[in-house]
């Protein structure tokens, strides 16, 4: 086994918030199966807070644990708070990651950020298009 912390193992074995959100307010997909890991984050935003966060992840134990803890850390955060979830913070919350798995903690933070970006972009569009259908895809 790669030398994973107990926390990583716990999140890997019991990942929180796995799934998709049908009517997500934002979706962020990062990584590439060719490189080994791919993550998709789904968020619901209510009153500037992340009212729901879900993910799907293709990848190693670390990638799954990272996705799980990022979803847990982000849940209920304001968008600004969620932006502050850095790779270093993710690794710290997981009680460390093996060196060659650092990139997974990057991916988790990136995917969440991308989902927020996606939400804001849609918001912008919606503002522009005067709120024609809240959950419309681009």
């Amino acid at each position: 086994m790669p030398v994973y912390s107990e926390k990583v193992m716990e999140h890997f074995m019991n990942p929180r918030n796995v799934g998709e959100i049908e009517d997500a307010d934002g979706i962020g997909e990062v990584g590439n199966p060719v490189c080994g890991d791919m993550m998709t984050f789904y968020i619901k935003v209510d009153d500037n807070h992340l009212s729901d966060v879900k993910f799907k992840t293709f990848g190693c134990g670390a990638a799954i644990a990272v996705s799980s803890i990022v979803s847990e850390m982000a849940m209920g955060n304001t968008l600004e708070e969620a932006r502050k979830i850095t790779p270093a913070l993710v690794a710290e919350q997981l009680e460390g990651l093996p060196k060659n798995k650092y990139h997974c903690s990057n991916l988790g933070a990136q995917a969440l950020n991308k989902a927020i970006d996606d939400y804001l972009k849609k918001q912008g569009k919606k503002v522009k298009s005067k709120r024609r259908g809240k959950n419309e895809k681009e």
């Binding site: 086994m1 997909e29 199966p33 293709f58 190693c60």
Partner: protein, 395 residues
């Protein structure tokens, strides 16, 4: 919890008879074979006996066996030592694209030393085409090295056919037989090679020992410089207990070869058939019939190998994978890639390598445990949901 070790490619347990044979050489007959006294005599006799047993296993002469510290060392010794001994004749080397890293990276070192290396490709089953080896050989080819079998995908190469081509072109031929020696018949004369690497940690013998068989008369430059052990060809105090273990493991392998092969291939087929019938979108990798008796290797689509291994381990099952995430370098197995498998499919690599101590119950346990693990990971996989959506869309 049930435990099932199906990672015999990583290493095999040492058989009780092998360990028993080794034990006297740690504390009783602990002498150095070079010494001029009784303790030395005991050790030397043990060495001679082991040498004969190894030679018998591969149908060679005892004095053609050079003991090494590992399969990796035997390969480094062959690749570097045989080419350096022939470099005046040419500085070109031919290997296959799916060699073990101990051949591949040794060849990289040769490149740094001014050699040129040609990698012969393999087909989708991992087979090397003898013709292709023939056309890669040049006037200045010092050495050809093609592995006997690849342990990741189990494909066994037509070494005897390749040897004919190599001989016709006048080059020296080494084969890495680490994955085959002790598992399937290996006869150096039938194979027609000039040098062959082996290690018992793949056939129920100890780690930390290996051997290079070198055809009488072939010249080699020592790799480990130092004392006069192994007739000046491999320096260092001989690892007597391990060499004795190698000898015993070789003896047992020879005696039991047929029954072991029958046992393993029955289990292997049960696992392959069971898995393919229980798990959709799973691919058997390697050659369907020309494969090692204990090798059942797959790619499970839409999910990644390390995650599978971790969940299998949680159920007490040991297996391995050639996925990028399971490698330190985070690169998918060069073997799977060379066979033309797309990288995202190679990520789902899962290898069960069976051993003597496995039973039908082990296989059935894996067949029971694996499908829910695959399901669980697929439920998490964005690739799988995309696939399902695509299918729906397609319908």
């Amino acid at each position: 919890m049930r435990r099932a070790y199906l990672d015999n490619v990583a290493t095999t347990p040492v058989l009780p008879q092998v360990l028993e044979a080794m034990l006297p050489y740690f504390r009783d007959a602990y002498g150095n074979p070079q010494s001029i006294h009784e303790w030395g005599d005991q050790a030397r006799e043990a060495l001679d006996d082991a040498r004969s047993k190894v030679a018998a296993l591969i149908v060679a002469q005892p004095e053609e066996i050079i003991f090494t510290g590992s399969g990796t060392e035997a390969n480094n010794f062959a690749i570097k030592g045989l080419t350096l001994a022939r470099q005046s004749q040419g500085k070109h080397v031919v290997i296959s694209a799916i060699e073990h890293f101990s051949v591949l990276h040794a060849a990289k070192t040769l490149e740094k030393w001014g050699f040129e290396v040609t990698q012969v490709p393999v087909d989708r089953y991992g087979l090397v085409d003898p013709e292709e080896v023939g056309t890669s050989i040049r006037e200045d080819t010092a050495l050809v090295s093609i592995m006997h079998a690849n342990s990741e995908v189990g494909t066994v190469q037509p070494i005897a056919e390749i040897a004919k081509v190599v001989k016709k072109r006048g080059a020296l031929f080494h084969t890495d037989a680490v994955a085959t020696t002790g598992s399937i018949p290996v006869d150096v004369k039938e194979l027609g090679v000039d040098a062959l690497s082996l290690t018992p940690n793949q056939f129920y013998g100890p780690k930390g020992v290996g051997a290079l068989w070198l055809k009488k008369g072939a010249r080699i430059i020592p790799f480990l410089d130092g004392g006069v052990q192994e007739r000046g060809r491999r320096a260092g105090t001989e690892n007597v207990p391990a060499i004795v273990g190698l000898g015993k493991a070789a003896e047992l392998a020879k005696e039991e070869m047929a029954s072991r092969m029958a046992h393993l291939s029955a289990l292997r087929d049960r696992l392959i058939e069971g898995l393919l019938s229980r798990i959709e979108h799973a691919i058997l990798t390697g050659h369907p019939t020309q494969r090692l008796p204990g090798n059942a290797s797959f790619c499970i689509e839409f999910i990644e190998g390390e995650a599978m291994l971790m969940l299998l381990s949680h159920q007490g099952i040991a297996a391995s994978s050639g996925s990028a995430c399971t490698s330190r370098a985070l690169k998918a197995s060069h073997v799977l890639t060379a066979m033309g498998l797309p990288a995202e499919i190679a990520q789902g690599s899962l290898l069960f390598s069976l051993g003597l101590e496995n039973t039908e119950e082990d296989i059935d346990y894996v067949l029971e445990q694996l499908p829910p693990i695959v399901d669980r990971l697929r439920q998490m996989s964005p690739l799988y949901s995309k696939f399902l959506k695509g299918q729906q869309g397609g319908r």
